[in-house]
Assembly symmetry: C2
Homo-oligomer: 555 residues x 2
């Protein structure tokens, strides 16, 4: 998994200037899904959905650093129950539910508490890649494995993550912080092999080597979770110089998008990041750096694949390449992600199944509506055993990989966004529980429902694939809005919390199952089978006799 990698910044997905031969090679070995949507276009909730296989509306960790409830079942729980390990290398953006752990008396440093705190993974390396520091302290108070690595490698400063890996150096020896995008074109002051993407590739190869050396073979899932091409937008040489303004694609934007936009869209357009990405000089500086970061990611995929091939592991390893969300990069007059235009909510998704059953689909694309939660479902399905469809809300992609697409595949995809913590919610005067957006798309239409009394947004993806014309207020489209709202309402009513009882258990109860003598509505013996009456026949002592307690000599 990459972080903030756009679906269209792969050459196999059509980028005209960026060559990603190693990702393309994966696509040639597997299936590339062209309509893969994340459950929320921002790290935290998106990842909690990848890791639980459940919608944000189900797990509740709706924004960055919203703790994931201690009771949520994770991919790791499902896989361990099927005899597999689930290992983390890199980022999760997981915030532990400390209050829940305390309430249930679970020690955070025990094996269970540690897994609960790591979203169900056993952490080989946990590094969220955001070692920011402000006047009120660090963004992430945990020790930084990457900073420890850089220090060991001799890098100077209190925070070499910032001072070296994410900053350039001025001619006068001053740190030119990568937090300021006008430094994006300069090289990060770190050796390329010590930068974050190769560092995590190294850790992954370490892990794979350790597992190869282990005599007792436990099958594993390895969540190699890269930090890049997420900002700060700065990359070491030679990647900083590979691309220039001439490689930057025109922004997907239209002046009409600034004329009376939906109030929530308008508020996001007013943010600093949106205003800056709406300036050509910013895009021309930042996007080449972003492309350099992606190119470095691609090269590291190449390294990893070469290692797997050379060590003979390529043919028994299922490989998935994806991202947690995209990046506007100035499209639609926005920066960052958060909203539901395709560059933000759609992600690259390539799945390589090494099995023979997948041979027929190698190198193909699939345009079915896929959701991020389908990956956990796919992994659990691949691991075998009864499928926990009462917990996992996604569906296995295996039928697509094996050339047998299900006839009853979902007709619409849903994504969500909670902007309650943002200044935009304050600006719009929206209460926390109302600062939420829901996207529902059926391939042709994309509706965005906004809580808090706002009108919806609506796009016609067929007539207007670039999503410039918001039809949410169009009287001609009232029926489309109503239909899309019906989809969303049915989705919202779904049974998402009956996670303690499987459908199979319910069907067993329905068909009779254990007869435990509860005889509802029987009037006389004609209504009851003789067997059912067995426990209820016999004689008893009448209470008109002396007090039975006295009779028994009792109390």
């Amino acid at each position: 998994m990459f972080d903030q990698l756009r679906f269209d910044y792969l050459s196999c997905a059509g980028h005209p200037a960026l060559e990603t031969p190693h990702m393309d090679a994966l696509a040639a070995r597997g299936v590339r899904f062209t309509r893969a949507y994340v459950q929320s276009p921002i790290c935290g909730p998106s990842r909690m959905s990848f890791y639980t296989g459940r919608y944000v509306h189900s797990h509740g960790a709706a924004w960055n650093n919203f703790p994931l409830k201690v009771g949520e079942v994770t991919l790791g729980d499902h896989l361990r129950a099927r005899g597999m390990d689930a290992v983390l290398i890199g980022k999760t953006h997981m915030k532990a539910d400390d209050a829940g752990l305390e309430r249930l008396g679970i020690a955070r440093d025990g094996i269970i508490g540690t897994r609960v705190s790591e979203c169900g993974f056993d952490a080989y390396v946990r590094d969220d890649g955001l070692w920011a520091e402000g006047p009120d302290g660090p963004y992430d108070a945990k020790p930084s494995p990457y900073n420890a690595f850089l220090r060991e490698r001799g890098y100077s400063g209190r925070n070499p993550w910032h001072d070296h890996a994410n900053s350039a150096l001025s001619e006068g020896g001053e740190i030119a912080s990568g937090w300021l995008m006008h430094h994006a074109g300069e090289p990060a002051n770190v050796r390329e092999t010590d930068s974050e993407t190769p560092w995590l590739t190294d850790r992954a190869i370490d892990f794979l080597e350790e597992r190869r050396a282990t005599r007792r073979k436990i099958p594993w899932l390895c969540h190699l979770s890269y930090i890049k091409p997420h900002w700060p937008y700065i990359v070491p040489a030679p990647y900083h110089a590979l691309y220039g303004p001439g490689d930057v694609q025109p922004a997907i934007r239209d002046p009409r998008e600034r004329e009376d936009p939906h109030p929530v869209f308008a508020a996001f357009q007013r943010t600093l990041v949106a205003r800056n990405f709406s300036r050509d000089e910013v895009r021309e500086k930042v996007i080449p750096a972003y492309m350099g970061l992606v190119k470095q990611c691609d090269d590291q995929i190449g390294r990893l694949m070469a290692y797997l091939r050379d060590s003979g592991q390529l043919d028994d390893t299922l490989i998935v390449l994806t991202s947690d969300h995209g990046d506007y990069l100035g499209d639609h007059w926005l920066g960052e992600k958060d909203l539901f235009h395709e560059p933000s909510v759609k992600v690259p998704l390539i799945v390589c199944d090494p099995s023979r059953q997948a041979d027929a689909t190698r190198g193909t694309t699939c345009d079915a509506l896929v959701e991020a939660i389908d990956l956990a479902a796919t992994f659990v399905d691949m691991a075998g055993g009864a499928f926990p469809g009462h917990i996992l809300e996604g569906r296995s992609l295996r039928p697509f990989l094996h050339g047998a697409p299900p006839a009853d595949w979902r007709a619409f995809a849903v994504s969500e966004y909670d902007y309650s913590c943002t200044p935009m919610a304050g600006e719009l005067g929206v209460a926390p529980k109302d600062a939420r957006l829901f996207m529902v798309t059926d391939r042709r239409w994309k509706l965005i429902e906004a809580e808090g009394g706002f009108r919806p947004m609506l796009f016609d993806l067929q007539a207007d694939p670039q999503e410039f014309t918001d039809l949410g207020a169009s009287p001609d489209h009232a029926q489309i809005v109503a239909t899309m709202r019906d989809h969303l309402a049915r989705w919202a009513r779904r049974e998402s919390q009956r996670t303690t009882l499987s459908d199979a258990a319910i069907l067993a109860r329905r068909s009779g199952g254990g007869n435990t003598g509860v005889l509802i509505g029987a009037y006389d013996e004609a209504d009851v089978s003789p067997a059912d009456m067995t426990a209820y026949r016999g004689t008893a002592v009448p209470i008109s006799e002396p007090d039975p307690a006295e009779e028994a000599g009792g109390s």
Copy 2:
């Protein structure tokens, strides 16, 4: 809390033949809520909503014996955090989430595991009152405190709950099982003082006496949870003979309800209990017994109130009287509960607040739309401290008690029913996740949305208060259906799972709060305050110099 007590079987609620002077006295001391709806008209899910303050759609324990997820926060958790105890005497119908406890390594017999298994209560007595036995074993495999009590009192047989307390005796000394409703008119073969309702009253008085004797005063909530007037419909003398067929009110039913009913309604009409309760001879036998059970309940409330008064506890005890759901008793051609007609989904609710602020409302009624989840909210509100509105979905009733009804009180109430385990679901061919119903009512209209492709049901509570005319298919009411569906859709989209972060915490983040140096979208220093740049200024060693690792003496 009583079990299966109809809202209209109290004389203060207008029953013409049944006198309930003790419940009426409570109503005279407090506020009687005339539109109190349960979250699901069946024991298990209704109670899990009472105990969590959350909708069934939120906690997921959607039917009897669906385990409540280990992570759910209960009323007991909230009260203990506020320095109170939460004690159970009687029934909860709680099914523990054993798989969740095991997954999280929580010992079921520890103090936390025990509370999790008892829905957050400390159990003084846990007795669900259903000691049925069938060919496949007992309905409830736990030891029966009530059977232990009866044995100690000298009652005979393996299961004196059935053989004595819930059965009559034939002239030949044979057990005449209370499971067969044609025995309903006979007296249960148990001394009245040993029957279930007085037994639980005795336990409550024991508890209160123990607490009174304790020097260290910890405020408590006592969930005194009676088993009756729930079936088996049989009651000891003299209550079995207090009422006769002349006291039975006419069934609220209409022949039109059997003409082309909604398929789900039709399936419930076909059940044994519905068919039997549609026979007058059955109603005339069962309803007098039901009335006798209610009369006994009323007398026990009288005993309890007398004890509280005599022991000087009446003036510092908040008292709430309610039920977990109603009973059709033949209304609408149905028996049992399950569906959403008023006799099933509406419950009695009387709240007596002893404080002076409540003086102005004593003896009044309130017709606001109240939901069962409002009680947990009321108790937590009364206990003080920050209100956990991110967990509790109900609202405190205190403003109503204190004569200041909120202007923004809810405009609609919701109830749910999951019939996935019933044979009716099999008969209708409905998958487990589709065998669900949602009721939404705004006082005038009541819509019932049925998953699984069925049309909705709709009743006009103003023009048709007896709910005989289902307008769900009426073209003239399409707009009403659409409006009620909008209410339901908004409800279904509510944020119910963000239970780890309060609204106050979100507002604090929104307004800035900790600045931890994440500088999104800054182009140059003009975009950033000098303080924000502090951590990012300084000098660094260029990597074009010799390898820093070597320079530092290497790794």
